[in-house]
Subunit: 377 residues, 4 copies
């Protein structure tokens, strides 16, 4: 239940206020060069304290690899890695014990498990995505090492403000040679938004934050260099596995691929991507499909968009019920919370894409399941 | 790969122009009353020939149960059921052998498998959803028998035309006592659309059909009476499993839950659903979340919306490439095709929802995994 | 639950007295030449009516392939195949409805499922191994086509009579060039026993049969040409998966690998197989390990021995209890039963070995998971 | 691949000479009282230094629980627990880098993974069973808490010396009221052997140790109080899952259930267990089947026997090949090794039985999958 992937499998564990959080990655082939720095780099991208909108909880999130790597390369055995929690302040939460916070998992966990860890959302907290990013960083490394695959996520909408830079507005810039330029722009923006109107979005978030409110948005994800043939019919489709993984990330309420919901407005003659022959190869002329046909990758960039709801933790008073007494009460969430999770959820979503791709590429025979040296011969 | 579900497992098999299509349902508990009629009723809802927009291929799709049912009740052993293909006309397809149809899986299957069944899309054809509906009809029966759960799907948008009847426009009508009225309206409309402007949608489709073109749309799905606590963190969330299953259905390009993409435009104070205490029970006052909090059902109706792309088969000429010769050619898809799959995809999508719910409810201890008599005690 | 294998997956279905029995094989790569004859040949080896000791139930067991094969080769989509039951005589069984037969699954199925198919053992009947042999025949074909792997099973003990021909008595005869000679001897013996004292065994069985009693024995299985490296630590070891699969076959009470239980009597210095260098390759000098070291194949022949209990159906009166009334009664099993299942269980056991090997070889990167043409390049 | 169980899932990680070893237990229901002491107690039973025959490597194996337990009870979220390695002496092993030790996994790991951790066997080392015992201790706790199930393992044979105390020699002592007496006798013997001739076995081991040789043996495992109905046909049978799990433990070469290989010598009339009616309940009169009929538990004690090969590490010179140079050389394993693993493998085998039972009992509806409070109502 806490595992993503079938062959390349990431099992995550840990709670918001437990001793530590981590992941076991099983099924990573041997001979991938891997260091703690490779993982740390991605953890830093989601770390509390990133950007101007992050929680004030200070966590170094320093990763330790405990197994599966020897002399700088993976051995084919399970990779266990963890970060210790340092800055828990559990007392913030005890008064919430029986009053579920609207929009959070408190109520559903309480009803499902009876005994649950109410401190900071326990296992339902966004903090548990640490394990996902550990797994994702290894998957990214594997994809880059074997196929030079690049996965990039960025904000395209904040609240009601649409950004002007999306895959479909600039498809030609999404090629392997220029992608680093886009990445630089993304990583230098506090909302990880490469649009020219990102400052307007920043003001929008600040305004909500001032009122104690929070903001949602839309993230776009693009992956380049995926070979043709990744994904299995019928129920391990590339599109299905991606949607399933992405919808398992906290705060996600929608996912679409290629033209997505907009494709429902098009005629078949507008939507279908025709084929051309160029340089002795078959290509799709356009990419309305977003990189997937009949659930299998078709050689064009993979394009996804993801709806992120506003952070449920707000300091505006909300009505709830004391589950022990039945009394209705108002609560104000104080703690330390991001007014929007947009910038920090991006490395998490990229991780899901990377894990799903790594898993399907091993399962599809694109990456050798045991030993990358066989792959590279 | 061709299995949906982990404990209640539906394995489908069959191709568009093979001898037969079917499914094996493993993990259905014993003592569920089940007959061929229960399955046939649902198969009839997706049968070729339904409504005014269906393919002219005439298939009775008469189901036979071959195992797993004895004296009118399930035995706990695998249920195998199939329908034989009767009206294949394979010669229609031979000339398409090496010229992949835009928008179809021809190209990706060819590259992935080398040898593939090009007749009518083979395994990528919508016809393979027969197996899914067989499995879905049993899942529906199980959910109704144990928890009186009802799942209903309907068209809310066709091309650019928005319908006026949706869950969020009429939440109060979506209760277990009145749902049959809505179902009746749905089943009597050629597009399975309960909106007052459905006739306008019909004209829209007819106009496209006349030009040899096709049309997409949006389907909404609602499930009532799901108990609190269904779905497992982190990677078997109710939302994740639903999105994964739905995105595995042919022609689906997007899925959202509750307010979905619209939730990204809301403030936290607008999006969060507050709690109330009523009749000695805790309830959500609103249902922006669409029935799922932190991936677990919360007692409100489950609400999903699904983007359906226009049928890729159109008789307008399209550019493609002969995969053997590299020559670019124009093709016109003749065969027998639906100008929109909206009405016929609805029972398929309902089936996915039913299978995912049945699976998660057994896995969550809501339905006894072996013997319903233990459940009912 | 009714599936063997994780990537090459055989899902079997059907009951002793249902309409049909069959299997769905998912995960067989495309481009394997396959015909109904390939499957029929193996089904004939386990068919009722084989040899002098078989049940008199006459079943042609004529297989039909319904999907997954096109123009004589697999397509990579699920292969569905079945045989119809022809010669059910259910009335034989109705009087056993509430009186469980000693040694059979009647009592445990009744307690587990409440509703069960009591006719001829239902799903617990040996007849359900039809599906396993269908899957096994395809796995065998795949192993032979890609690696020229041969799997051979034979009786080495009947009741208390030990045969004189075993792997360890004649290791040098078990090589790929001479194996057909051994197979011929096996297939020409009514107990599938290549030992010189097999006639003595036949008399032993006849004597028991005359008294209405039944007989068990030991089967040895050898597989040749398995490459080094098949099997995954820790819980998908070649040895573990084989033992798990074999212990799931009806009537099996023990399994051992290599020297097995005898190895517990040896000193380390006797048991360990030393390494030699020959023809520029590393080899094991002996094969006490039976082809597996640390759960992974090591290049020597795979050697297993399996304990088969006496057929529980005997016509000698036995004490049992009427589950409805609590009354103790004597029953005599009449029906049509084999005095020993030894010869007919051999193709079933070979099938398990073949399926486990095919599954682990695909998972280990030895066989391409989608398209054998990539394998053969 | 490193996971045992399907719903109650134990994923182990770690190598002999890595930083730490541990396990993640996913699928343990909430509200099980659990402390580090519960796990420590079992780890102590397999700890290096147990008894007179253990390796001199001194490891405290002090367990830390990092997640999944809150206020003394499980929360339903993954339980992560680990022990740090303290006493690695890697230099002992470097000279073995390219000379595989006979009987070990060195050669097969090297061929499979290319890059492997040669220090002390890496992942193939018996030390990796630490994770299995962590998982097993939690499974045992769960089984005891819910059904008062007791699992006991003990030596019944050492080399060629048969013990005089086995389940079949004393079936009546194996009842829930007297089992603690047997356990006490077992735990006080250096070979965990309750037979009266255990001193003779000790001398046998000492004699081999003196010569630098090693010894194997047979372990018997009995589990009491298992309800009727545990185990699923066809490929998740209780017998199949047990055999598969047990054969995945280091050094195991055979497994049998009930009368096992001996049953192959019996007539059906001797082997079948008749039914009796006593105290308003149906019982088996005898227990030749060893607690399992048609793969499902039948209410009698579960009885297994397991063949343990002699420890492959011996200090007598053995022939091997340098894998880099092809040169044949003699090696003497020095390091610190047990002359027999019998006493220390017993808690590991008990752990496998406990994990398999916990998993099948949750899957079979005997234990609530999410919340034990529902179970106990």
């Amino acid at each position: 239940m806490n595992t993503l992937g079938k062959v390349f499998r990431v099992t995550t564990w840990g709670e918001s206020h437990g001793k530590a959080l981590g992941a076991v990655i099983d099924g990573c082939p041997a001979n991938l060069p891997l260091s703690e720095e490779d993982i740390q780099k991605e953890l830093n991208r989601r770390r509390p304290g990133y950007g101007i909108f992050s929680t004030l909880r200070r966590e170094p999130d320093k990763v330790e690899i405990l197994s599966g790597v020897f002399e700088g390369r993976t051995t084919g055995t399970p990779i266990s890695a963890l970060v210790y929690n340092r800055n828990q302040r559990s007392k913030d939460y005890t008064k919430l014990r029986y009053t579920p916070r609207p929009g959070h998992g408190d109520y559903t966990y309480y009803k499902k498990y009876g005994n649950y860890d109410y401190r900071g959302g326990g296992r339902a907290s966004g903090r548990t995505t640490v394990g996902l990013v550990i797994g994702g960083s290894i998957a990214k490394r594997l994809l880059e090492y074997t196929y030079n695959i690049k996965i990039v996520g960025y904000t395209v909408k904040v609240g009601k403000i649409e950004g002007d830079f999306t895959y479909y507005s600039n498809p030609e810039e999404f090629n392997i040679k220029e992608i680093e330029k886009i990445i630089e722009r993304i990583e230098n923006d506090p909302l990880r938004c490469p649009s020219s109107n990102s400052q307007e979005m920043v003001e929008y978030v600040k305004e909500a934050m001032k009122r104690g409110d929070s903001v949602g948005g839309v993230v776009e994800l693009v992956a380049l260099n995926i070979p043709v043939g990744v994904g299995n019919p019928l129920f391990s489709k590339l599109s299905g596995e991606l949607a399933g993984g992405i919808m398992s990330v906290n705060a996600i309420k929608g996912v679409e691929i290629g033209k997505g919901f907009q494709s429902s407005e098009l005629y078949g003659s507008e939507m279908n991507d025709e084929y051309i022959f160029y340089n002795n190869e078959v290509y799709l002329k356009t990419n309305n499909c977003g990189g997937v046909l009949a659930g299998i990758s078709c050689g064009t960039p993979l394009v996804l968009r993801v709806a992120v709801k506003p952070t449920p933790s707000i300091s505006i008073p909300q009505r709830t019920v004391n589950l022990k007494t039945g009394e209705e009460v108002d609560i104000k969430i104080e703690g330390r919370h991001d007014p929007t999770i947009l910038p920090r959820v991006i490395p998490v979503l990229e991780s899901v894409v990377a894990i799903v791709l790594a898993d399907l590429m091993i399962r599809g025979g694109f990456i050798h399941p045991c030993n990358l040296e066989f792959n590279l011969q």
